[in-house]
Symmetry: C2
Subunit: 455 residues, 2 copies
């Protein structure tokens, strides 16, 4: 009877610094540009929507940036998060691979999102913000920000993608339990929402639309700022506590990963686990195979174009250079709501374009099949988003079973699925399906892309 | 900005022994009696439904009983569970009290129930059982047993109280995710279920009915045994890992509780936290105020009668001496489904009758009000059952705020409420209500009690 092995770090090992990959990249990530001028965005112009603290992190090239002590103190509730050796899963797969996973589902909101939510809420409190708006897909980011705002005494208003709002009433309940207001998006309360509803009153929404609404709300209201749960440099930076802890925990295990895997939506959990390992590589450390897993229903890294595009549907954000399916692309309503974003974080896109990582897609039915195998073996109920990483890791372990290779595979289990059980009910009832894009559909989405480069 | 303090024990501090309160009680707990003869039940007769391992524990008077290593190994996934000092809650209540809670929601099923499920599944595996039947109220026990059976390779069939089955589809999904079959109870598949349905086709069920169905199923099928998630001595024993860890963690905190609080349904989580402290007292240790909190909708300890009664509706179980509202009592469908049991564990009833503890009731609306305050302060979403302990602890802390006393209050937070969010949605929507029993209704329930003592 082999069981998991749990690697636990002392509280003092919670990272004191965030790790900034810009310090180690040979080619820095292209800056966002102002669509009005085509010139790099003046950071000061971002202050209308973001806290000065967030903006400073966004443009920093320092390798290590100190984590404010109040944020670190609150993280003590659940950090350092455990890292497990999945021996029961290895046995179920009859693989010689050594499978490790970092488990971020132990946070108050049930995912890695709390790592960034606390930091963003703290910076807003520090600069006098009273109210925060945001978007949420699956609801993990919204729950995380709701709780962080509650802790720091800020109001929180969450525009939740309608398809998730309908699929996941429990997430709405959790956001309200933590004191936030939730609004299904597209909503009739913003110009951006009204414009979408005028074209399609039945629109199920997307992260791109919800972002437009939340940004507009922040722009129109004084004392209100906007927070984004992924994509931006400072958000990815906040998540690097994950990979930094994992490096120490792999050391405890007397091992080092051959492959590091994360699910890719906007990119923050993937960056969180992988950037510290990429940093080690860039500074001369051991070569690691870095693998991003995205849903076939929203294949930005694998089928998108690396170009400047807007972060939202209404084209209110600066333009960012990223792998994108076009800011008007609305992915089908798959259950991994947190991965339904048309683009990929600029830093990850940069890393990808430099050949420092690879990516592949997985299909919804394979993801759920593997999530069930994982849950039964490891006793953890994974979120559909996180299950993309599980499925990717299991595929690598299956390859090892075929070749006889004993690779060390590390993946990030970014969150639990306790509030996503409706997805499992639909899966068990045979109601879920895969999604294959015809080439022409992707080509059409890409054809709508603005063509533009930084001047 | 004060935050929680987390007290974490090393893995080696997972208790190696269960603590058996019978060894320290001046008056031992009266044995179950055979309703056919009125004589104490012959343990051998219990083998039709329970594993020999469980029966041995049931009648043991040894103080410390070794935990089988395979069970201990699997518990390493989440044990020792954390103990928190609730400094943010203290601040929210402006209380001089020091509030501590042991958090059992970190287990695979999300509650303390896994502690006993693993031990019971292991003993059944050891004696050659192929299939296990059980009942579940809120679904926490069912999820726990489903996962434990999956680990040890046993089939699992769960009779789930219909009101919870309807209120909590996510719990059903989790049980199925862990490989179990779930059946709403009363069901048409057993004599016991059919009898209830004949009287009331719309019956919402109760733990007492579901127990009858699961026991009948086990009795009728070879290779099938029955497991109970609370009430019995061996189940309470399995839970004493909680209190044993808490004693060590209070030591780490340099403190000792003045009050120890747990929610009371069948009694297992309450016994888990309190029995090790009562044991210390009985062996000459410091006096602690032991407080059980039960729902006003099912007030067995506070309004029931201490007498021999059946454990189930169909009178299939042996008779146990316990505080009971009568085995035919069907509590209203409050959201704390796990507390809807007509009786109280015989050991707890014995402890109560000897004046070693006290009990009080709380009302549903107060419980949810306090759960929301707790969640916002501490960043944990509590189960409705566990929230009874929260509310009881908060009341004690509020008293301290009035008197200026600085008591140390320890309570058991037995599980998270991620799969109970529908209850919060109903609470926020103003749909929940309190339940006050007219004296005559309780009197009528008690009048139906069998009158009988062990010969």
């Amino acid at each position: 009877m082999s069981s998991q092995i749990k690697y636990i770090l002392d509280e003092e090992k919670i990272p004191k610094y965030w790790y900034n990959i810009e310090a180690d990249l040979k080619k820095n990530t292209p800056p966002p540009i102002d669509p009005a001028t085509g010139a790099p965005m003046d950071p000061a112009k971002l202050e209308a929507i973001f806290s000065p603290g967030a903006i400073a992190l966004e443009v920093s090239r320092e390798r290590y940036i100190e984590i404010p002590e109040p944020v670190r103190e609150i993280m003590r509730q659940w950090r350092p998060s455990p890292l497990y050796r999945a021996r029961r899963l290895e046995k179920a797969l009859k693989t010689p691979a050594r499978i490790y996973y970092k488990y971020e589902g132990v946070s108050p909101s049930g995912s890695h999102k709390t790592n960034s939510a606390l930091a963003q809420a703290f910076e807003n409190k520090r600069c006098g913000t009273k109210k925060i708006t945001t978007e949420t897909g699956a609801g993990q980011w919204g729950s995380a920000l709701a709780q962080a705002c509650e802790i720091f005494g800020l109001e929180c208003k969450v525009y939740m993608v309608r398809c998730s709002y309908d699929q996941k009433p429990y997430r709405k309940a959790m956001m309200e339990l933590f004191g936030a207001t939730t609004i299904p998006s597209p909503s009739p309360y913003t110009d951006a929402g009204r414009a979408v509803l005028a074209r399609d009153p039945e629109c199920r929404g997307s992260l791109g639309i919800a972002i437009s609404e939340a940004v507009e709300d922040a722009l129109k209201n004084p004392d209100t700022k906007y927070c984004l749960g992924s994509v931006l440099n400072h958000v990815l930076l906040h998540q690097t506590v994950i990979g930094q802890e994992a490096i120490l925990q792999m050391e405890m295990a007397g091992d080092y990963p051959d492959i590091v895997i994360g699910a890719c939506g906007g990119g923050s959990n993937f960056a969180g686990i992988s950037f510290p390992f990429i940093g080690e590589m860039l500074r001369g450390g051991r070569k690691v195979d870095i693998l991003g897993i995205e849903p076939a229903a929203c294949p930005s890294l694998t089928r998108g174009k690396y170009t400047y595009d807007f972060g939202d549907v209404a084209k209110m954000t600066p333009m960012m250079k990223m792998y994108t399916l076009g800011s008007s692309f609305i992915p089908p309503a798959v259950h991994a709501g947190g991965l339904r974003y048309h683009g990929m974080a600029p830093q990850i896109s940069n890393v990808m374009s430099q050949g420092l990582m690879r990516a592949r897609t997985v299909q919804q039915l394979d993801v759920f099949r593997d999530a069930v195998i994982f849950a039964r073996a490891e006793g953890i109920t994974p979120a559909p988003e996180s299950s993309h990483a599980i499925s990717g890791a299991m595929d690598e372990a299956r390859k090892c079973a075929e070749t006889g290779e004993s690779k060390a595979i590390l993946f990030n289990l970014s969150g639990h699925g306790h509030l996503d059980m409706s997805a499992y009910l639909e899966y068990f009832a045979g109601k879920l399906k895969n999604y294959e894009y015809p080439e022409e559909e992707i080509a059409m989405a890409l054809a709508g892309l603005p063509v533009c480069e930084a001047k």
